[in-house]
């Protein structure tokens, strides 16, 4: 076997097991086969990304899936694969989250044994993992869009997995239609690329090198591709499908959707802006403004949710906004010809990619926490839940670590990526300062969001006592939680590890390594004299001081209970409902919510209505035979013109 062929290794278990699962009828066996083969495959993905990121190998290969016919473009039947330093980052998070989510699914899916068809789930789950892997590793834009559609299709089946729930089916439908509309726009953009620039040679390497002289056309193509990707990445005007779709899937699938799948359009955006076209100031500004709007809308809406997974879904939107803001800032700063701004741009790029990794870890951790709660209590309603930290201590510990990292509290991983982004925006002295300031405000909102998430589920007493006995989830559920939580701490304390993951790509764009100092717990730009002991002191104080105090004060304590006017605190009907958290805030800042609702009505409802009218008109035309014939002739004419003018370049 050649070295490049290890790109096929992760595909084999998934393909074999998905066939077995379809044939097999047993519920438990198909669940186990799904989990184990996904785990093997995700482990292999981790190995592949390790070879690329740490051993600095490029892994690429190709496979023929049909005969080589004369006159037919080569890439119709040949799929090329390449894992470079960019796609390896995303393969890494896919492998990591996929591995733990599959481990988690072993006991989690037992909830559905007597309700749903497990084989159907298993098939779609594995095809979903496979299509994500293929989308990330393919080297060809033509095959990218095909795998992209398979990914949408299989994940849509997973979203509406609980067929009896009307809400789930509706969410899956909404998700599929909106993202499908997005991918149509993407296809138009790719077609323009094919027609005007590269012909059927849609290989990434060719696309990178081919000259693109027409600036207007370039911008149109970028706009189309960006909108198409933005729909899937749920950037602001198109974000409305996400909060419906992500919560309805089984929790480990939600973790994959929120942690990995919404990063795949981000991956393509990096390729689009850095490889297919040159970084431009205009697009940098557009992308970062869209990013900051997404951050605000996500944060404000997450604040008022009453459903644990829906809250997390809105928070995903916010974090995608942060990532996109980092991308936009890096584009703007790297397009300017000045080394000061270029360093800031590379820092923003680092922040963006670091946040991709961080968010994948934290968000999947939090979705798995919500799933662990669902597994034991069967509910994700924040009004029903409460007081669970006593019964589920490990889940509570994981939740609090996930919460601290996603809010960016200093020693945890979220802080470093946010810190890098703030330094590059607020430190720039350009109008990007305003975006940085808004981001700081959104950071405050994030803290409020997760205080609501944690306290409503774990500390505040529930309104009604739980019916059954509540205990800690089984080890297959708590093990992924704890390992993700440990990763959160490690990635925060030792930023050198994420640097090894994302650094290769950044070095390709700009040699940043000489300009930053990476210390335990901190990454800085050492342009002023900075002594290493100072930082060490800071870290020591922040870590050791609380521990010493805890030991000192922990010695003499007496145990008591909260006095509550003689009422037992196991449950409390007067407990604060999740709706009344931040109620005042909502009324005071109601303008922002009305803007958000208006955006939805303009961009989704009105557009879909207009489209429906358009298609009704087309339908009326088609039903009329004479028009049909004219249309048919026109189509033939267009086809002939395309052939004559040679737009359709064959290989």
């Amino acid at each position: 076997m050649f070295e490049g062929d290890i790109v096929f290794l992760p595909m084999i278990p998934l393909i074999v097991a998905s066939i077995i699962v379809v044939v097999l009828r047993g519920k438990m066996s198909s669940n186990y086969i799904t989990s184990i083969s996904s785990m093997i495959s995700c482990g292999l993905m981790l190995y592949v990304s390790y070879r690329v990121l740490i051993l600095n190998r490029l892994i690429g290969s190709s496979i023929w899936i049909g005969p080589k016919l004369p006159g037919v473009p080569v890439n119709f039947f040949r799929i090329c694969f390449l894992i470079d330093s960019l796609s390896a980052i995303f393969v890494f998070i896919l492998g990591l989250v996929g591995f733990l989510a599959s481990l988690y699914s072993i006991s989690y899916m037992s909830r559905f044994y007597d309700k749903e068809h497990i084989g159907f789930y298993g098939f779609n789950y594995m095809i979903f993992l496979l299509s994500m892997y293929l989308t990330l590793t393919t080297r060809d834009l033509f095959w990218f869009i095909i795998f992209w559609e398979i990914m949408t299709l299989s994940s849509q089946f997973l979203v509406s997995f609980e067929k009896d729930k009307k809400k789930a089916v509706w969410a899956g439908y909404k998700y599929f239609t909106i993202t499908k509309a997005g991918s149509e726009i993407l296809i138009v953009g790719i077609l323009l690329l094919i027609i005007f620039y590269c012909g059927m040679k849609t290989d990434f390497l060719v696309l990178k090198l081919v000259a693109k002289p027409n600036r207007l056309l370039n911008n149109i193509i970028i706009a189309l591709l960006f909108i198409g990707l933005a729909v899937k990445a749920s950037l602001t005007p198109f974000h409305t499908w996400l909060p419906d779709a992500h919560p309805e899937a089984p929790s480990h699938v939600s973790a994959l959707l929120g942690g990995v799948m919404i990063k795949i359009p981000i991956y393509m955006m990096f390729r689009l802006y850095y490889f297919f076209f040159r970084p431009s100031l205009l697009w940098g500004i557009i992308v970062s403004i869209i990013g900051i709007i997404t951050v605000l809308i996500g944060a404000f809406y997450a604040l008022v949710q009453e459903d644990s997974k829906r809250l997390l879904a809105y928070s995903s939107i916010e974090n995608i906004g942060i990532i996109i803001l980092g991308l936009g800032a890096s584009l703007s700063f790297l397009s300017v010809n000045s080394s000061f701004y270029n360093i800031l741009g590379a820092l923003a790029l680092f922040a963006s990619l670091y946040h991709v990794v961080n968010h994948a870890i934290c968000k999947s951790l939090l979705f798995l926490v919500a799933g662990s709660i669902i597994y034991r209590t069967g509910s994700r309603d924040l009004d029903v839940l409460g007081g669970l930290s006593k019964y589920m201590p490990l889940t509570a510990l994981a939740a609090i670590i996930g919460m601290l990292s996603i809010t960016g509290i200093p020693p945890f991983n979220g802080f470093i990526s946010k810190w890098l982004l703030y330094s590059s925006t607020i430190g720039s002295g350009t109008p990007y300062v305003i975006l940085g300031i808004i981001l700081l405000f959104a950071g405050g909102l994030t803290i409020a969001i997760y205080i609501k998430f944690y306290t409503t589920i774990f500390t505040r007493p529930p309104k009604k006592p739980y019916t059954g006995e509540i205990k800690e989830s089984p080890p297959t559920i708590t093990l992924p939680l704890i390992s993700l939580a440990i990763l959160c701490i490690i990635f925060g304390l030792f930023p050198i590890i994420p640097w090894h993951i994302v650094g290769d790509f950044i070095q390709r764009i700009y040699p940043l390594r000489g300009f930053i100092g990476i210390y335990p717990g901190l990454i800085i730009v050492p342009t002023v004299s900075i002594a290493y002991p100072l930082l060490l002191l800071l870290v020591l104080v922040s870590i050791i001081f609380p521990i010493l105090f805890a030991i000192y004060f922990g010695s003499g304590k007496s145990v008591s209970t909260t006095w509550a006017s003689g009422v037992l605190f196991r449950s409390n009907p007067m407990s604060v409902s999740s709706r009344s958290y931040y109620n005042v805030f909502r009324t005071i800042f109601s303008e922002i919510y009305s803007i958000g609702d208006k955006l939805y009505s303009i961009f989704i409802l009105k557009t879909s209505n207009a489209l429906r009218k358009l298609f009704e008109a087309i339908h009326n035309v088609i039903e009329n035979p004479p028009y049909m014939i004219i249309l048919f002739l026109l189509l033939i004419l267009v086809y002939c013109i395309i052939l004559w003018t040679g737009w359709y370049i064959i290989d």
Partner: protein, 301 residues
């Protein structure tokens, strides 16, 4: 190493001075209300007594540990802020660390408080978090604009305010004074505590050393914000070379701190408590004003 030493001296002085200033403020308040008032050292007596008491464990580890983390966060924030001596531990982006430390301390205060499961504590925490979002918005705006005009990410480069004499900086500084007032939990804005209304709110279930830690960190936070105000006005304008120079600097700094503290106390005496929605509306209007200031800054004024 000298710099670290001075930064540590800052923290140590602040630990003692902070409760002393609270005592002075209590005395002034009492005098203004025609009462005799407690002795000036009363707050120090209170704290030392509380520190000696036994801690009570309410069955929630988070509730028990939170005050320590709040206190540690405040101390680190003091370590990177120049106060009694014009020295601090600094590095690029320390201002962002400072903002996150402040957020982190309010986060843990709220988490610990809600973990006590007391309804009053939950109400108080809810208010605290809304107020802190609002003040975080204003803090980010005002500090951000000053940073923009100064063109640096270092706390010590923020001071003094004036050399780029631009209206947006001065207006932001005025807003910053208001935030310093809000963040120090003084009367129109002590909504999360609200002794007469929700019986101490976030502090209700705390007692002994834990209560002392939280109170101490509130006093320290007051010193932190007040030293920011003083640094904005006078940093670097006082001679501070040599050992004697530093001592003179510290004495002048203390005097200025005293003036700020008196000014805040006098305002506090004449105010009634805001309701939370009034406070938020006040903050919102102020942030709309900040929008105008941003426009000024955008055009270079």
């Amino acid at each position: 190493m000298i710099r670290i030493l001075f930064a540590l001296i800052n923290v140590l002085i602040a630990l003692i001075i902070a409760p002393l200033f609270d005592g002075i403020e209590r005395k002034i308040k009492a005098r203004l209300q025609n009462r005799r008032g407690p002795p000036i050292l009363q707050t120090i007596y209170d704290l030392s007594k509380l520190y000696k008491k036994e801690n009570i464990f309410l069955g929630s580890r988070l509730h028990f540990i939170a005050p320590i983390i709040v206190f540690a966060n405040t101390l680190i924030a003091l370590l990177i802020t120049p106060s009694f001596t014009p020295a601090s531990v600094y590095f690029i982006g320390d201002i962002i660390l400072l903002l996150y430390l402040l957020s982190s301390s309010s986060l843990f205060l709220v988490l610990g408080s809600i973990s006590s499961r007391n309804p009053f504590a939950i109400t108080g925490s809810n208010r605290e978090i809304m107020l802190s979002i609002g003040s975080k918005l204003l803090l980010a705006l005002s500090i951000g604009i000053i940073l923009w005009n100064k063109g640096s990410l270092l706390i010590i480069h923020l001071f003094p305010l004036i050399p780029p004499l631009v209206p947006s900086s001065i207006l932001s500084f005025i807003v910053f004074i208001i935030i310093a007032y809000i963040e120090s939990m003084r009367l129109p804005f002590d909504i999360p505590e609200a002794e007469p209304e929700i019986a101490g709110g976030i502090l209700i279930e705390y007692s002994g050393p834990n209560l002392a830690l939280i109170l101490h960190s509130i006093y320290l936070k007051r010193i932190l914000f007040a030293s920011f105000i003083i640094n904005f006005l006078f940093y670097g304008s006082i001679l501070s070379t040599g050992f004697l120079g530093i001592i003179i600097y510290s004495i002048i700094f203390l005097a200025l701190l005293f003036i700020v503290s008196i000014a805040f106390t006098v305002i506090e005496v004449f105010c009634g408590r805001y309701r939370i929605d009034h406070a938020l509306k006040f903050i919102k209007n102020l942030s709309l004003l900040m929008g105008v200031i941003i426009l000024l800054a955008l055009y270079g004024y």
